[in-house]
Subunit: 361 residues, 4 copies
């Protein structure tokens, strides 16, 4: 059984394991105040082109999200998210547990638009009874989205503009950021994020690390006292250097980007296989998650050798499934998978290929 249901099925990239081994016996101060964390922070700042930003390491994404959001918002404020956003549906109410409402806006493809953020905020401020509703004060995005899609630089600029105008904090969850950076159609680079976002995080857990997310605070003011929040929310790792060592490795010799490209290349091979088999896709994802729409026959056939997720049951009886590649996916496995997909589609698929979305090169 080959697993394609997530990008955290394996341990860490060999270079990371090696770095952890090499530093294992060293003694360092705890809680992220060691030299490895310091070095990793320097490298991340360099990659982002921002000497003045702050970098804090977390073990996981839910923790990072709840800590960042809880530290920025005052009690009466809320965070805007796409209804498919990770904080809206996959974190067991972690944001609400810090006392804040998630204002989930409809987003069929998982992406928020500047227009809908503007409308949400203006509607609030135009309401004479607005103090009876939570005040929108933050925008939560993810890149790529839960649907595998990417914000373009133009879209992010528009969101940045509305955030500036409406005094909203712009926060971007980069749990899978490597797979955005590794996508062909991507035009948003780390330095762009460091300019456009108030806070964003660079995901390690899903992109080659054992675990770890690097929260980058780009706006003056938001960093004050942030380490108290990390501690209070349970996110301050005693042996903090484990995070430093990992991120230092990920940012050395372009490893992070290399891992992202690797996974995306294999995802494209899977996409091509489904495409060739005549499948439409739920989302036109240029990243490591692919959402082909298939029949039950195809599902049954592929499930014999592969694990993947049922994503959404469609009205025509078909199902959108999700295949996820990662830094650890092997090309030879994908070769076999691709031919298995073609065979399954041939036997169980529709005759004529129908595309729900156009597929650019």
């Amino acid at each position: 059984m080959q697993r394609f249901e997530c990008d955290y099925a394996e341990g860490a990239h060999p270079r990371i394991m090696e770095a952890l081994l090499q530093t294992n016996k060293e003694q360092t101060p705890g809680y992220g105040e060691d030299e490895y964390c310091e070095a990793a922070r320097r490298m991340i700042k360099l990659a982002c082109g921002r000497e003045d930003m702050d970098v804090h390491f977390f073990v996981g994404g839910t923790q990072a999200n709840a800590t960042v959001i809880g530290s920025v918002l005052r009690p009466h404020q809320a965070v805007i998210s796409a209804e498919t956003g990770h904080i809206a549906g996959h974190e067991a109410g972690a944001v609400e547990a810090t006392g804040h409402k998630v204002l989930a806006l409809p987003a069929p493809d998982g992406k928020l638009t500047a227009a809908q953020v503007r409308e949400c905020v203006e509607t609030h401020w135009e309401d004479p009874n607005r103090v009876h509703t939570p005040q929108p004060a933050m925008v939560y995005l993810s890149q790529p989205t839960e649907t595998g899609l990417l914000y373009t630089k133009a879209e992010l600029l528009a969101l940045r503009e509305v955030c500036g105008e409406k005094k909203l904090t712009l926060y971007l969850d980069g749990a899978r950021l490597g797979y955005a950076l590794g996508a062909k159609r991507n035009d948003v680079f780390m330095a762009d994020l460091a300019q456009l976002c108030d806070v964003f995080y660079i995901g390690g857990t899903k992109v080659g690390a054992l675990f770890g997310e690097a929260v980058c605070i780009c706006s003056a003011g938001l960093n004050e006292d942030f380490r108290y929040h990390i501690k209070q929310r349970g996110g301050m790792l005693a042996k903090g250097r484990l995070l430093g060592v990992q991120f230092e490795t990920l940012f050395k010799d372009g490893l992070y980007l290399e891992l992202g490209r690797h996974a995306v290349r294999l995802a494209m091979a899977i996409r091509d296989a489904f495409h060739g088999g005549g499948c439409a896709f739920l989302y036109d994802s240029p990243t490591n998650q692919q959402f082909p729409i298939v029949s039950e026959g195809v599902i049954a056939q592929l499930a014999k050798n592969y694990s993947f997720s049922r994503w959404k049951t469609l009205s025509d009886g078909k199902t959108a499934i999700r295949f996820v590649t990662s830094w650890a996916t092997r090309p030879e496995t994908v070769d076999v998978l691709a031919s298995d997909i073609r065979r399954a589609c041939r036997i169980h698929g529709d005759k004529a290929p129908v595309w729900s979305v156009e597929m650019p090169e």
Copy 2:
């Protein structure tokens, strides 16, 4: 510079690193539902002699404490702790952040007594206006305490009895449990904890693991829905098997106990050196933390080659300092340290040894 200021300065025990390496490329389900976690749970249950208890893995102690306490208490309830307890003073208000008051009782040596717990609870229930004060509903202990001391089995039985009588949940924080189990004067074993506590945790971070704490839920009812709480508080590690692999290794061939004994043996050597140098101790600790009372001269002398903590300034101008050993402390380092201690005490110490507490064998 040799570090003796904490027990989390190094990485992990070599056997753990080896196990992580060997399993690194395997694919497993996430979130602690893999075979390694399952195996580790079985081994812990076996060690505790309780097939019916539940085991959940956390990355760190603050997270474990906040999640357990937050899951057990209803909003109007409070947790009783010694005022030196970790939750009372070292977790940045993590328990209060879940909405609950920590009822910190005075405890000069860091240990709560059954009598003071009983009095606290009876005072509450006898008050006709009790609904104006938080209701004590849980007792938080740690073994060893922050002061390096151990509860005896008799003391724990008395606390258990008052908890049963007053319907309090008994929770024991075992962040350094290995160093309790490894102490000569200890008479509380893992199976005792599993009988006496409603919940306790077995600390890995400070006892040989890279990170990790194993929360053991011994009382029926408290386990229901516990995994939601782990997720909500940000404690559900994506690659959960990292925790399983580590605890499996710690519980194989008695490694956990061996590491505890190792650190305690070296702590005793440090104790003997200070003792021989004529120092009194703030607490008569039989575990891996030692609190000798020394002059500034001794501090200055030792600080040249060793890092350790100033713990408390005493009224006579002397200072209680803290030396901590760990699973990773090397005997040869302690040999040199012991002779350095003796020399420092000879030069800078008081002439006549004065004991504040009796030192059994």
Copy 3:
């Protein structure tokens, strides 16, 4: 200017003011433990036909809702509400501030159905990753709804059944309950609520009292320690007898029901006037809130002498407005209003009456 924008524009019914005056100089114990509260509790229990239920008085509805919901739910649990529910949109995130997500389900007319509650809960429990989402554990209804509509007894029975089956707490917000009881088409009486709900509250603020809501806890278990929660959430009125005196008066000689009928009768007169003027209605409300759909001309004309709310802008350029009557609305005022409505509709309205919903007798 006559106010029809809410049902809390005046003070209290004269009998209530009289009762407060008569008891003003008496000395009583505080915090709701006086004889007036006791008497009011007895009368409410009698009206509900439940000797065994518990009654607690609150000053206002947001406080009552947050306290009840916060006391029932465990941290990982959520409350289901219609998206138009008061807790979902008009309480400034008070429920989220207690740490809980409001699961807002679409409800075009403001009413939840048993089927959609069942589906929401089953979807949760069928999800193998359900611990990543808040657990639905409570259903919040209001009677009448924010849209002025009523649940029938059959609908409530169906909701009760799904709550029983799925172990959900059924909570009904009766901020305007008097105007439900006073409606002709109503078939749900106080004794029904006491049988069907786990908790409900009888609204005083909007039905003749200066302020006050009577929370009725009908299910064993939910009452335990409830007074701590009232105190902690700031809802325990020092001079609690003010609430007792008011509810005693409301429940004496059928005053509560009489006030409800009065307001509904006048609301029907307003409805008839808009109906006669050819207006359709956004909701077919049998209670004290009426939602006629009118042109801007009608709005401008009526706004000269009356205050009311713009409720919703419709796609055809018309607007649904809201007129609210109360226990204090005077028949002579409504007589004049009715004729003003007819005139405004004649001048500014559509020619042909079009009904969006059928209007029963």
Copy 4:
């Protein structure tokens, strides 16, 4: 039975009842945006000599405290209080329920000193591991204290100075402020509070109103969005004008001050009676609460006709009891009480009068 156990046993001052009656039928906007609230705000600002401050009305003190504290503190911050402070011991953990720790400092007489606040804050900031403890950011005082004592202007100036220096918000709870203002030994007036505090509240519930507290926000910045917080914490009264009408009345013709003086004058008569009977006092209170130390015999004798509180059992077998007067206490009742006290002390008291504290004029 005459009640002297609290100052909220009766309803409201007749002038307040009259004002409520006179305005009862008027229609006003809700939620504190009516003309009565506006007028009351103007009068309070005038009394405070601060046109630029903001005034918000609450129904009760616990609500006011939790809302103010919760709105000012960021999640990692804590509020300093005397351990006898109302928020530390009498509000059922309402502050902790908003996520914040109460740093309760020892205060034998109920008063915090500038020195101990400074030490608490400096200890925090000097700690290199301070992010592991909640950050002190606010000081909570009450005037009078729970022990009936008054801060002098000099003491408040010193506290103000340390708050300014250490960037702490200074918040003063004036639940019984009228009884401070009405005391002979008082040198802190409303205008002083408006200069010295960042926020304070003027208590109505205990000083002549049916209910109500006026929160005065004196520091720019703290008022922003405050009304959201009121709503979210359940403190926004629908018929807000009830609070406006009451405070307008209290501030007309010096009624508030008159009520304060009345209660204090009668409290002094009670003090004199105990004094004359040879009793010492637990606290030398110049306000409406008196804490005489008496024998069980005296208690039993007085308990036949009066209700009062046992405050503290002393080591010599005697008990400090509490008698509280209020705006509603009748002079003739106190006359009889005074003679009853003298008789009880004659029969059951100690022979020789012993003063624990000096009693100025």
